[in-house]
């Protein structure tokens, strides 16, 4: 997968170089006509570079949702712990009357 995407990146780089050298050698009006193709070649290269990076992305939106759930659970646990600390204080307070 990554090997293939690596080849796509190289092919895109070659296409960019070829069209950009033609573009630079052209007169200004021809440049104007060539510009959409040249932009498209750079666009394709940049997308190929992105694809290579995306091959390595492992985490998903589901993971973000899970993290959000865990965060909420931790916040709930924090409240429980606060209650427990309150309970401990109560024990100490009551102990004075034992």
């Amino acid at each position: 997968m990554a090997d293939n995407d690596s080849k796509v990146l190289k092919a895109a780089a070659n296409a960019v170089t070829e069209i950009d050298m033609r573009y630079r050698a052209a007169g200004i009006d021809d440049k104007e006509d060539l510009k959409p193709k040249r932009d498209a070649a750079y666009d394709a290269y940049s997308l190929a570079r992105l694809k290579l990076l995306e091959d390595g992305i492992l985490a998903t939106d589901a993971d973000v949702a899970l993290l959000d759930e865990i965060r909420l659970e931790i916040e709930e646990a924090a409240q429980t712990q606060a209650l427990l600390i309150g309970a401990g204080r109560l024990i100490v307070a009551l102990a004075k009357f034992v």
Binding site: S46, R49, L53, G56, E73, G88, A95, V98
Partner: protein, 297 residues
């Protein structure tokens, strides 16, 4: 004996917020935040890579003026705002689709690392109660570490190429070689050109190195986070000893009585806590661990 230990734990937890747990929670929270910082620094470098590969060489205002004059005189077409922009800077370009997709991907990545760090924001307040919950983040943490390491590898395997700057220099070289000037002048210009080319190669290598370095840094911080998460629900004997030691001495000092005097009152509170299944399982697990050092006595 068992219920007495329970009271001791409860009193210790409540009064002292379990120093050992709290320290562990703080360490994990800080490490997760550091992981976010280092990862997002890597993502910033990826954006630098995107721009550098398609950006034209820097252009001065006077160079823009010179180009405009040349092109305005040469063109046979009517001047329009778009055309004037092209005449000023024919080297500029647009990568609309790629720019959008890059932005979406980098935003998604930033969101992931921010969400990860945010997960543990309240952990210090839940240092004891969230022990089992923290473990759920382990698989996500592993994936986040893996992917930040992958970015470094992808850029090492496929080095950056500042394409537009490369072609600009290549076109300059073509012109230089074809120019009808004397040999000495040509040699001097070729030598100057090579300096620029070397500088460009150096800039590419430098960005590759910075990405690899930052990605490795983020991954190593991330790995430390994963290890902490994996061990988070296992309070070590010394964690327990610290927490219990503080709990016992504090409980005694506070009341001036033996801890056993609190037993009846504690039982009421304990009953409430045991009626909560989550809490009960946490208590049972803690008990098993606490009973280990006790058994040695």
């Amino acid at each position: 004996m068992r219920s007495k230990a329970v009271q001791r734990i409860l009193v210790g937890c409540a009064l002292l917020a379990l120093a050992a747990c709290s320290q562990k929670a703080e360490t994990l929270k800080l490490a997760a935040s550091q992981f976010e910082t280092e990862s997002r620094a890597t993502i910033v470098l990826l954006e630098e890579l995107r721009v550098a590969e398609i950006a034209p060489p820097a252009k001065s205002e006077s160079a823009e003026t010179a180009d405009f004059i040349k092109n305005a005189l040469e063109s046979t077409r009517d001047a329009t705002p778009d055309r004037i922009a092209l005449w000023m800077n024919p080297d500029a370009g647009e990568t609309v689709k790629a720019s959008e997709e890059w932005a979406a991907t980098l935003t998604r990545l930033n969101t992931q690392y921010r969400a990860f760090a945010n997960t543990f924001a309240s952990l210090e307040q839940a240092s004891f109660t969230a022990r089992d919950i923290v473990k759920k983040a382990e698989p996500v943490a592993v994936r986040l570490v893996g992917q930040i390491a992958n970015f470094g590898k992808a850029v090492t395997d496929n080095p950056p190429e500042f394409l537009k700057q490369r072609t600009a220099l290549s076109a300059q070289l073509k012109t230089l070689r074809a120019a009808q000037t004397n040999a000495a002048d040509k040699r001097a210009k070729l030598s100057g050109w090579l300096d620029k080319w070397r500088a460009l190669m150096q800039a590419e290598t430098d960005l590759q190195r910075r990405i690899a370095e930052q990605s490795a840094k983020a991954a190593s911080v991330g790995l430390a986070v994963v290890k902490q998460i994996r061990a988070y629900d296992q309070l070590s004997a010394s964690d327990i000893a610290d927490a219990m030691g503080i709990a016992f001495s504090a409980a005694g000092a506070l009341t001036g009585r033996d801890v056993s005097a609190l037993q009846n009152k504690a039982n009421d509170v304990l009953g409430d806590i045991q009626s909560d299944p989550v809490w009960n399982s946490i208590l049972q697990q803690s008990l098993e661990e606490v009973n280990q050092p006790k058994a040695k006595e």
